[in-house]
């Protein structure tokens, strides 16, 4: 090889390198904070999968690299704050997505506000979170949408007369329980049992017996996966004489039906999204998301993964449209794009009000039938007929 050849090849390599860099552009720095370990890890891991998928799709679509930084908040409020501070203060990300649990997101959203970084969360529904009207706070789902689905279905579909409500003591489940109780009472439905239980409760029989003595038609559990497992197992042993078992969130995930098997049959739950429930304008996007998710992670996506995906997608597009990859980043531009957003998505119409809450969010209420989630409420989004009365253990 002559010296001339070596020089020619070196110059060609350098030119190619410069062209490649110019072609790709500077990366968008996106931060993600979610529980990857601890009690909420299951949900946080799903969120992050959705966010990763959104980042990959964005890179392909806009030909712009995404530098995704993911930090584990270990299901702990202080760690959530530390994660947001590191993302915004040290890594200088242009937007943060993720966050699960109102008790984690509350302090974390304060940190995002201090660092003036747009923060879009997907798994924290407490209405108090947006009360401070932080300019960087945005979320895709919140509590009133879930409460309306539960009370509406109990009134219009199940025709309940007496409902027993058990709720986990954490802020989000306590708040939805209060909301639903108020809505049921105003609709003339009695709530003779309204009991708060602590996280980690394993013996639910004494509480369930109160429902039996009160003659409740419906058992409503505002809780999380372990609470559903505990209440369903104990209700089966007691042969609890109710006509329906309704849960809040996390009850219709693929893991839930896998773990409980026949014991998941006929239970009702609320969800942001279940496969096949996307509005007709977003059916194509839903199908593409499901196919890509399955191909990448070899599992069915849950609604939490969908929320993670959408939060990543909306935040990345907002940063992009706000000039995020030009090097002169201005968070106000990203916020403006997000405030102006009004689009259809697999979870319905997405737009934010002045507090960052979703303007049009409505959850669906589904019933598990033969291990599939059949949406029964609202009626205009239903995918099948309700089976009532029916509970996994026989009931009334």
């Amino acid at each position: 090889m002559t010296i001339r050849t070596v020089i020619t090849l070196s110059v060609a390599f350098a030119v190619c390198l410069c062209l490649a860099t110019a072609w790709a552009g500077p990366p968008i720095r996106l931060g993600a904070q979610a529980p990857q370990t601890g009690s909420l890890a299951k949900h946080g891991l799903e969120q992050i999968k959705g966010i990763r998928l959104a980042a990959e799709e964005f890179q392909k679509k806009y030909n712009t690299p995404v530098d995704l930084r993911v930090y584990d908040d270990e299901s702990d409020g202080q760690k959530a704050v530390a994660a947001v501070e590191k993302l915004a203060g040290v890594d200088k990300v242009q937007g943060i997505v993720g966050g699960y649990g109102s008790h984690l997101v509350g302090p974390a959203s304060e940190a995002a506000e201090r660092y003036d970084t747009p923060y879009m969360i997907t798994g924290a529904v407490d209405t108090k979170l947006s009360a401070k009207k932080y300019k960087n706070f945005f979320r895709l789902n919140f509590m009133p949408g879930y409460a309306a689905a539960q009370s509406g279905a109990m009134k219009d579909i199940l025709g309940a007369k007496k409902v027993g409500i058990l709720y986990n003591s954490v802020s989000a489940t306590a708040e939805i329980a209060e909301y639903v109780k108020a809505q049921l009472t105003s609709a003339g439905i009695q709530v003779p049992v309204f009991e708060k239980f602590e996280k980690g409760t394993t013996n639910f029989k004494p509480i369930l017996l109160k429902l039996k003595d009160a003659g409740c038609d419906v058992l409503l559990v505002e809780g999380y996966f372990p609470d559903y497992v505990g209440t369903i197992k104990d209700a089966k042993i007691l042969k609890l004489p109710v006509k329906a078992y309704v849960g809040a969130w996390g009850i219709g995930t693929p893991e839930f039906t896998r773990e409980l098997g026949p014991m998941s049959e006929y239970v009702y739950g609320t969800s942001v999204w279940e496969m096949g429930t996307a509005p007709k304008e977003s059916k194509e996007e839903e199908a593409a998301f499901v196919a890509d998710y399955k191909a990448k992670f070899n599992e069915e996506p849950s609604y939490i993964a969908m929320l993670g995906y959408l939060s990543g997608k909306f935040m990345l597009e907002a940063i992009h449209k706000g000039g995020g990859e030009s090097g002169a980043y201005d968070p106000e531009k990203t916020r403006s794009v997000l405030r102006a957003l009004d689009t259809m998505s697999p979870i319905g119409r997405v737009a934010f009000d002045e507090k960052g809450d979703p303007k049009y969010f409505v959850a669906v209420l589904f019933q598990t039938q033969k291990r599939n989630q059949v949406v029964i409420y609202p009626k205009d989004r239903s995918t099948g007929a309700v089976v009532y009365p029916a509970v996994p253990w026989g009931g009334k």
Partner: protein, 290 residues
């Protein structure tokens, strides 16, 4: 208005919960009583047993009750390994060393579970064990009867091992006076190793039952360790059969609190009882040195 049947059913649920508590805390109480080591990885060893039983059921359809010896062996093996590799080296120093080390071991194991079995919550479901039996209007499942039986057998078995077997007595003598035990020809290092491993085995026995009656997840160990510690202090260090009685007092007390007041006071009852016992009888309900 609470019916009499509901009160009796509630008491029974407390008895079942109490015997489960006793089984879950047995390993921690044993290691603490014998070696003065608060094994903060106890809950994770128990969860390990639960995962072993879960996978034996899912992969090969092994009944979780039959999986108990394998789960116990795995948790015991992990405890043995931990003792040989880490604890043995630092035990002679401050007691705080073992506390910190077992805390770290617990974190390591929880993260290992996360990698091996993901963060999904798992529950061991065997239909025949979940079927309820009705006696005089009171329901109990076959799984619960099995759990009570196993708890009693294990607690009594451990009691007899400590009081009747040569190794059990060697472990007790080592716990009372290490130097005298060594002078009497007892291999105190071996006694410690066996004692810590037995603690792991006992934790492993509880794991499958936890998975059957409740659920398992990578982070589930912490709450078990806390509950086990409370119950150990409540029962009194060194009283193995006392754990059953203390567990039942705690379980029934919690159930009655829920029945007659509100479920939100359940945990409060446990901790008020814990504080009262510490005030009135600091050595615990049945406390004495082994």
């Amino acid at each position: 208005m609470t019916s009499t049947t509901s009160i009796i059913q509630s008491i029974l649920s407390g008895v079942i919960e109490g015997t489960d508590y006793a089984l879950y805390c047995l390993g921690l109480a044993f290691v603490f009583g014998i070696m003065r080591i608060i094994n903060l990885a106890h809950g994770e060893l128990l969860v390990l047993g639960g995962y072993i039983a879960y996978w034996l059921l899912v992969k090969w359809g092994v009944n979780p009750v039959l999986a108990i010896p394998i789960a116990a062996g795995a948790a015991g093996g992990m405890a043995l390994l931990s003792y040989r590799v880490f604890l043995q080296r630092i035990r002679t120093g401050s007691e705080l060393n073992t506390l910190i080390l077992t805390f770290g071991l617990g974190i390591f194991l929880a993260n290992l579970f996360l990698q091996l079995w993901t963060a999904d919550i798992r529950t061991i479901g065997v239909d025949w064990m979940e079927q309820p039996l009705m006696l005089f209007g009171i329901y109990i499942s076959l799984g619960e009867i099995t759990a009570i039986t196993i708890s009693l057998v294990v607690v009594l078995g451990l009691h007899f091992f400590l009081t009747r077997s040569k190794m059990g007595m060697a472990i007790r003598v080592t716990a009372i006076d290490r130097d005298s035990a060594a002078l009497a020809g007892i291999n105190v290092e071996r006694a410690d190793l066996v004692a810590f491993s037995i603690g792991g085995v006992l934790a492993g026995v509880g794991g499958p039952l936890l998975g059957m009656l409740a659920h398992i997840s990578p982070g589930a160990g912490v709450a078990i360790t806390v509950k086990a510690f409370v119950l150990t202090v409540l029962a009194g260090v060194g009283s193995i059969p006392g754990l059953i009685v203390a567990g039942i007092i705690l379980g029934v007390g919690e159930a009655m609190t829920v029945t007659f007041t509100n479920a939100s006071y359940r945990e409060l009852f446990g901790f008020v009882l814990f504080l009262l016992i510490l005030l009135v009888r600091p050595q615990g309900l049945f406390g004495r040195r082994l």
